[in-house]
């Protein structure tokens, strides 16, 4: 087994254009001993897996495309089976600024929380690096959605500024919990935070930068954002009314 106790989970679907840059960014913030990387290729039809392997990054390929949630959970399962103490998930399309990875890692090591969420809305202090590109806060609909989810989560006593962040660090216990069939694999988002919160996992946010991905815009047009909102709203409400899994 590798010497590292931390794994970076990188779900990727058709990210041939970004994967090398993301991996290069990751190697710039860390030495190899600090983190193990794992790309989870979610049935990509492009060169994502080959490029990751050529770059020397372990890559696990799902034989069919089943979506972000499935890829993510595969990472949790891998982390649990291989004895990692900490897992950090981030996007491979360059949306998440890797320079905040050490801080998430530090918070996990200090055990300040079971789940450390990178928030694009928390204010930065002078110790933060300068942003590399214009900061992204989402489309109007997305921002309205985030506000709505904030309010709903607060009803259950969970105060977070960025409930839909995908830049998240997990302690092993949280990883084990999400590796079971409890995990909502269709649209894991704000509902996962509520699920974790209601089952006694402590959640903490730290400020990060997120950037827009110019190519992303195209698939989020049309009815998709509305459909997403309705599904996610339902998922959050159900996460709120289900009985606790851990008693």
């Amino acid at each position: 087994m590798s010497p590292s106790d931390t794994i970076i989970i990188l779900p990727a679907y058709n990210e041939a254009n970004h994967i090398l840059q993301t991996l290069a960014d990751l190697s710039s913030v860390s030495t190899q001993a600090e983190y193990d990387l794992l790309v989870i290729n979610d049935g990509s039809t492009d060169q994502t897996a080959d490029l990751a392997r050529q770059a020397g990054c372990p890559c696990l390929s799902l034989p069919v495309h089943l979506g972000y949630g499935t890829a993510l959970q595969t990472g949790y399962k891998y982390a649990v089976r291989n004895g990692y103490r900490y897992a950090i998930q981030m996007d491979t399309d360059g949306q998440h600024d890797v320079r905040f990875l050490p801080e998430i890692h530090r918070q996990l090591r200090l055990k300040t929380a079971d789940v450390v969420v990178g928030s694009r809305f928390l204010p930065h202090d002078e110790t933060s690096p300068t942003p590399r590109r214009p900061i992204y806060a989402g489309t109007l609909l997305r921002r309205l959605g985030i506000r709505l989810f904030r309010i709903i989560l607060r009803l259950w006593g969970l105060s977070v500024t960025d409930p839909t962040s995908g830049f998240v660090g997990l302690q092993r216990s949280a990883c084990e919990f999400l590796a079971t069939d409890i995990f909502p694999f269709d649209y894991p988002d704000a509902d996962v935070l509520l699920l974790l919160h209601r089952n006694g996992f402590a959640i903490r946010e730290i400020p990060v930068y997120m950037y827009t991905n110019p190519e992303r815009g195209s698939i989020h047009r049309g009815c998709a954002p509305f459909w997403y909102m309705i599904k996610e709203l339902l998922a959050v409400l159900f996460a709120g009314v289900r009985s606790r899994e851990i008693v």
């Binding site: 989870i40 696990l60 799902l62 089943l66 499935t70 891998y78 089976r81």
Partner: protein
Amino acid sequence: MPLTQKIFAVIFSVLFLYAIFEMVRKRRLLEQYSVIWLALGTIMLVLGLWYDALLFVTRLIGAGFTSSTLFFFGITICLLLNLQASFELSRNATHIKNLTQEVALLKHELEEKQKEMNQ
């Protein structure tokens, strides 16, 4: 009940039952899922042949017309079957997800082992 109506009802039920039977025989439909459809076809056949039974049920539920009874039960059964199909679909989606993940994890493990052996 007019004779033509009766003949139509019986022919339709028999064809329906035959279609289900053929699907099971050709393995297009699993036996466990055929039970409900065979039962439904049999009920249709019985009601077609035995009009008094339909009249009895109509009186029992307080419906004004026999056609209301048929629509009510027809639609209710379709709803329940659809719900059951959605339930199966949800369960299968979870199974497919777990199996896909398992394939990916095992394949990766195998590749790692092979790499170790080659070194």
